[in-house]
Amino acid sequence: MNAATLFGLCGAALVGLGLYGLVTNPEPLRKILAFNLLGSGVFLVFGVVAKRAAASGLGGDPVPQAMVITAIVVAFAATAMAIALVLRLLQETGRSTLSSDTSAATDTAGADS
């Protein structure tokens, strides 16, 4: 097993781990954290793809590396927006949950399920 494959498996495990956290953890902030973990696992897969394709004196293929940089910045922007939403929700309701039954609102949000 070479280094690329090792980190690839690490990426796969992180994706699983992040997904688990995202699905099971009820707190929005922890969901956001899990999303970031999931994202970094995905980025590692890109890194492995790049490393595997090392050629012509380069340590890796620059194309997937550049894509990861783009994606990292996008993920940060997403995190910022999600956190701003969580904090605003806290201001409005005094709590931060995603489940609609605990919400103070009864009109629109409570109608599904």
Partner: protein
């Protein structure tokens, strides 16, 4: 292996319009952001109609030439660079979406217009910029020829759509927006990991180049599965629809119209691109039946829940869940049993017509619901009595939209369902015909409930909270009429959608 001269990658004569379709919205967003205040609205009101003209030019070009338009960005050909391509599919979608955008802009002028001399306000500033951003993102989704560019487009769409949900800042809309954001982010990250795997196997993400090399091997199959799940989550296909109803029902009317009519179609379009263009032979019978089953479940579930709703906007939102289901019936119906390939004619045409007629009809219905809400101060279906007398044009628009959703002739919905039914007969899959017909029945039920309430006389004399501007009603009616008349394209060049389909090129070249 295709020979080199088959490579379609050279900028075609009118390719520059494709760049404009992306540069104009981007420039609009940036300029509005820096100029602020009334400029955001002015720029949007100039750019959105020019977007319609642009889309029409592209459509006419594609139609007349019979080929797709191509633009090679930066003069770097794929796989290293990025190509923009417009085929019949994208041109048709672009034009209809541009119509919806124009109507929404007119409609929204009443709610988000800024009076001369007043300071920059939050909601209008955000709304107009986000509207232009959605327009640009949709254009990029229709034209992008590279799976990673399409990822950026998906993110553009997410970041433009989520703030629209909670534009009025109520707690429940904030919650809906947060849930929407989490679903959307999960969707795009799953899509992204798929692109990573595909790049790892083929060292290109260009749709045309990929479609020539794609092989059914583990990495590709895992990539396709993850990308599809991600896109399903963003399209709100049952059972990943939970975010949609509160988000679409809670947003301001103009925003709901855009979200329901336009935004969910973006990720659906990518599902089509992925399976019909990148890997037409990969889905297989079982996969196609699964997609169809999810679609059928969405139709039945969405309709049944819509029937139980007490509030108009939620009813319309659940109806969106159901109508999205129809879009996924095309997969079992388009699968050619002999070759195992998804065919880019027949059912796909029906699906695209369903997408665009739903877009126009649903936008009209959300606008109408918004007007009813504004006039009554509520949207409880049980208390709609007398509204048809007070706002006849609005109710008429709502009813026409419903006609298209049910699928009565001559509406676009009728044409779409007719083509799909034809395909069920042609492929001998009668069970999908049952679903289509049952869906139409359910739709007529909930439309009947709403309309019968609306035309019922009110007990007390109806007092409207605000006067509804005529041009808002006209915008809704125009969209509803578009949806109604879309069925008439059956008399005209319906095969425009098939222009530039890769399978038709491949067939021609063999």
């Amino acid at each position: 292996m295709p020979d080199a001269n088959l490579l379609p990658d050279a900028t075609t004569t009118d390719g520059v319009f494709l760049v404009l379709a992306i540069v104009l919205p981007a420039a609009g967003v940036l300029l509005s952001f820096v100029l602020g205040g009334r400029y955001a609205e002015r720029i949007a009101l100039v750019l959105l109609p020019s977007g319609f003209i642009l889309a029409t030019i592209i459509l006419v070009d594609v139609w007349q030439s019979g080929h797709r338009l191509v633009y090679i960005v930066g003069d770097w050909k794929p796989p290293l660079g990025i190509a923009l391509r417009a085929d019949g599919l994208s041109a048709a979608m672009m034009v209809v979406m541009a119509i919806v955008f124009c109507a929404v802009a007119i409609f929204a002028y009443a709610d988000f217009g800024t009076r001369a001399g007043s300071a920059e306000a939050r909601a209008p500033f955000a709304f107009w910029i986000l509207l232009m951003a959605i327009w640009g993102a949709m254009n990029l989704i229709f034209l992008g020829g590279d799976l990673f560019t399409l990822y950026v487009a998906l993110e553009l769409l997410t970041f433009a759509a989520v703030p629209l949900v909670c534009l009025d800042g109520r707690a429940e809309t904030l919650q809906a927006a947060l849930r929407y954001l989490i679903f959307a982010l999960l969707g795009s990250i799953l899509y992204l990991v798929g692109t990573a795997l595909l790049y790892g196997s083929y060292a290109t993400l260009d749709i045309v180049l990929l479609s020539r090399q794609i092989r059914a091997e583990p990495a590709t199959l895992v990539a396709a599965a993850l990308m599809t799940i991600g896109l399903f989550a963003k399209t709100a296909l049952f059972p990943l629809h939970l975010w949609l109803p509160p988000a679409h029902a809670g947003a301001p009317a103009a925003a709901s119209a855009v979200l329901s009519a336009v935004v969910v179609k973006g990720s659906f379009f990518l599902v089509v691109r992925l399976w019909f263009d990148v890997m037409p032979g990969m889905l297989g019978g079982a996969g196609a039946q699964l997609f169809g089953a999810l679609g059928a479940a969405a139709i039945i579930f969405g309709s049944v829940v819509a029937l139980q709703q007490q509030r108009l906007k939620l009813l319309i939102a659940y109806s969106t869940v159901a109508q999205i289901g129809y879009l996924f019936l095309i997969f079992p119906l388009a699968l050619d049993a002999a070759s195992g390939q998804l065919q880019g004619s027949g059912a796909l045409t029906g699906g695209i017509i369903q997408a665009i007629s739903h877009a126009t009809a649903k936008a009209a219905m959300f606008m109408a619901a918004g007007l009813i809400y504004a006039a009554l101060g509520h949207d409880r279906i049980a208390e709609l009595g007398g509204i048809a007398r007070a706002l006849p044009m609005t109710i008429f628009a709502f009813a026409l939209g419903g006609v298209s959703l049910i699928g009565l002739p001559p509406s676009g919905g009728f044409l779409a369902k007719w083509i799909l039914l034809e395909a069920t007969v042609a492929t001998g899959q009668w069970w999908w015909a049952l679903v289509i017909l049952a869906g139409g029945l359910f739709t007529s039920c909930y439309m009947f409930i709403v309309l019968s309430r609306a035309v019922a006389p009110s007990g007390a004399p109806l007092k409207l909270k605000t006067a509804v501007p005529k041009y808002q009603e006209a915008a809704a009616l125009a969209l509803a009429l578009t949806s109604l008349l879309l069925g008439l394209v059956a008399l005209g060049p319906i095969d425009i959608i098939e222009v530039g389909r890769p399978d038709s090129i491949m067939v021609g070249s063999r």
